[in-house]
């Protein structure tokens, strides 16, 4: 079965690009921050320097881990769902569920190892850059040079591999339960959320609220130290909403049904696919929520922090600026990661709809009508995702503003929300439009033949 797995990998490079990219970027983040721990140990760091390195490795690396597991799982699940037909074919010629599982796990492991291998060099460079910034901020003495060692490599390969294998097992379990290929069966995209998912979302939201309360109470007089806690509130809240995205999208669709109807048949078709393919489209919305929540959250936290520092003088200005840079670098990486995730998920999801587009064209839709429908759907996803993400980022922003500047109104104005919204909309619409155009390139009659 492993032979089959490798052959299947080689033949379908494009289908696995999303998973491979997720593994690569994830491993890069984990290894880059893991190398801070190697640096601390091999450089014999003590006191504040050791604490800085360890905390950064743990906190940022920890977030990297959560995001990597999320990204690898969602891309692998998506690719397994897209191959439901192929898997059903394998089952019909006599493959046992165990063999399918071994094949999917083998593929995932292959992807994880390939992604982590490719990540070694960029992670080494990124780690060096971060240590350089820490040197500039005088948070780590220059005598301690950057080291990329066993911890970085171990966590990078280990976590990516475990995340991929677990994701493959989950995906195999799901495809095993599905009925063999009936072309009309996949329409029944039941958007009911499974209870473990709801439970996880509730736990995450609880943790986020807890962080928000901590920021305003225990951390109130801790100054800059309250920032990571407030950031956690925003990130945990975003993750919670990302898990709930099918339910959010369903609710939003109900609200938007009327306004969308004004767009004629394109609007009507957009409502139908939002309602009937909720789960699939929600998978696209999840990275938008994370992208917005983390992006807007961090920018406002930093602006508020800047405002607080402007009135106080407990930190030299140069150091504060380096810290700010460091903060933006870390968040920049995470936001970039989510942006790539978003583009990937959307590309895969749209390419998969070639057949559906073909059916619409054969029923009398012009390519323009198909593109109009796709654009409307993408606009809804971007709008709902941005609103949810921006709303949940308040969980971090408002408590931090109360703690730091004594006012619930954060610093920075609406600029960040506008920029993030424009970016999210441009990414979503641009990708969906481009992918749909490509899916429309082949004749409609060919597009519907399986």
């Amino acid at each position: 079965m492993l032979g089959l797995a490798l052959r299947s990998l080689r033949r379908r490079v494009s289908a696995f690009t999303a998973s491979l990219l997720a593994a690569f970027l994830g491993a890069t983040i984990i290894m880059a921050f893991g190398s801070l721990l190697d640096t601390s140990v091999s450089g014999g760091a003590t006191g504040a320097a050791a604490e800085t390195l360890t905390t950064m490795a743990a906190v940022v690396g920890g977030w990297g881990l959560v995001l990597v597991v999320f990204a690898v799982t969602s891309t692998l699940t998506l690719s397994a769902r897209q191959r439901a037909g192929e898997l059903a074919l394998l089952r019909s010629v006599g493959a046992t569920p165990g063999q399918i599982r071994r094949m999917l796990v083998g593929e995932a492991a292959g992807l994880a190892v390939a992604g982590a291998l490719a990540a070694v060099l960029p992670a080494w460079l990124a780690g060096r850059g971060i240590v350089g910034l820490l040197h500039d901020a005088d948070m780590v003495p220059r005598s301690i040079g950057h080291t990329f060692g066993a911890f970085a490599a171990g966590t990078g390969f280990g976590i990516t591999l475990v995340a991929a294998v677990v994701a493959a097992l989950l995906a195999a379990r799901r495809t095993g339960r599905e009925r063999p290929a009936d072309p009309y069966a996949d329409a029944a995209d039941a958007a009911r959320l499974p209870w473990p998912r709801i439970a996880a979302a509730v736990l995450l939201l609880g943790a986020a609220v807890n962080c928000a309360v901590l920021t305003m109470t225990v951390m109130r007089d801790e100054g800059t130290m309250a920032m990571p806690i407030a950031a956690q509130a925003a990130i945990l809240g975003s993750l919670s909403l990302a898990l709930l995205s099918p339910a959010l999208l369903r609710g939003a669709t109900r609200l938007l049904e009327r306004p969308l109807g004004a767009f004629g048949v394109a609007g009507e078709l957009a409502v139908v696919s939002l309602r009937r393919r909720t789960r699939r489209l929600a998978a696209v919305m999840a990275p938008i929520i994370l992208f917005t929540g983390v992006g807007v959250g961090t920018v406002h936290l930093q602006r508020t922090e800047n405002a607080a520092l402007a009135t106080a003088t407990d930190l030299p200005e140069a150091d504060a600026r380096t810290l700010e840079t460091l903060n933006y670098v870390v968040i920049g990486m995470i936001v970039l990661f989510m942006a790539i995730m978003l583009v990937n998920t959307l590309l895969a999801a749209t390419a998969h709809r070639r057949r559906e587009f073909g059916q619409q064209r054969l029923a009398g839709a012009t390519p323009g009508q198909v593109l109009g429908t796709v654009a409307l759907e993408a606009a809804v996803l971007a709008a709902v995702g941005v609103v949810c993400g921006a709303a949940v980022s308040l969980l971090g922003i408002v408590p931090f503003a109360v703690a730091r500047i004594g006012s619930p109104v954060p610093e920075g104005g609406p600029a960040a929300v506008v920029v993030v919204a424009v970016l999210a909309a441009a990414l979503t619409l641009g990708t969906a439009y481009g992918a749909a155009r490509r899916a429309l390139a082949s004749p409609a009659v060919d597009a519907v033949t399986p």
Binding site: Y184, V272, G364, A365
Partner: protein
């Protein structure tokens, strides 16, 4: 742009050719087919696998572009600059029942049937759509999803969808291919009825002599050429003719010197 053809002609093909591939891999799917079908006729197109039946149907319906030759549907030449133009042409003149049906899995029965009208920006006459569905025996299944229907019921939805825009010409690609004999007979009866009661022209590709026997005439296709025509067909005569189709093709090739 509109070129008038002989009155009463629903479909006219003039030396239609279709070449797949290039160089050594070149295959003549259609090697020059000319045919004219009168309005209000029911024609079956038969031939062995690979004879070009489906290609002929798709070229005639504007779903595929011929390499050469001209196609006239309901008196107008089927020539579009791009897909959007061809789509607009098809909307008003052509109904197509696909072999894979191509119902949209996310739409219910009535929504599937009214979709072509909505896409064409035409007024949706729900009463007419319901009436069409009632006529194909699905009056009580208006709000079912395709996944909840049997193969025969899905086939009838596809026929109702093709008929709802009242196109002068209806093409059907193996409409009974996946059906049991009873469903198949119902579907053929529906097509027959469309011709008799509503004056539409039906062109159906099939490989089943029994299905072909429901038509007014059968056209035989082999190696991308028309090799024969049989009026008032019976299943036995069609089957007999199919058996010797290879010989007919050989003779015609010798005659044309191809």
């Amino acid at each position: 742009m509109t070129v008038r053809t002989a009155a009463g002609e629903a479909l006219r093909l003039e030396n239609v050719r279709k070449v797949h591939g290039t160089g050594d891999g070149k295959v003549d799917a259609l090697a020059g087919v000319s045919v004219a079908l009168p309005a209000g006729s029911f024609t079956a197109v038969m031939g062995p696998s690979g004879s070009g039946k489906s290609t002929l149907l798709q070229c005639a319906a504007g779903l595929d572009t011929p390499t050469g030759g001209r196609v006239f549907v309901d008196g107008a030449e089927l020539a579009g600059r791009n897909e959007a133009a061809l789509t607009r042409f098809r909307r008003s003149r052509i109904g197509f029942v696909f072999q894979q049906l191509n119902l949209l899995p996310t739409l219910d029965v009535l929504q599937n049937v009214t979709l072509p009208l909505k896409l064409a920006g035409r007024r949706v006459d729900t009463a007419h759509a319901v009436e069409t569905l009632r006529r194909v025996g699905l009056g009580d299944r208006l709000h079912r999803m395709p996944a909840e229907l049997s193969g025969g019921q899905r086939q009838r939805v596809a026929i109702a969808r093709a008929l709802v825009a009242r196109p002068p010409v209806l093409f059907a690609d193996e409409p009974t291919g996946a059906l049991d004999t009873r469903s198949a007979r119902e579907v053929l009866g529906l097509l027959r009825e469309t011709v008799r009661a509503h004056g539409r022209t039906v062109v159906m590709v099939t490989h089943d002599p029994v299905a072909a026997a429901h038509a007014d005439a059968v056209l035989f296709l082999a190696d991308g050429r028309l090799v024969g025509r049989l009026a008032a067909p019976t299943a036995e005569a069609v089957a007999e003719r199919m058996t010797h189709l290879g010989d007919d093709a050989e003779v015609q090739r010798a005659r044309t010197g191809a």
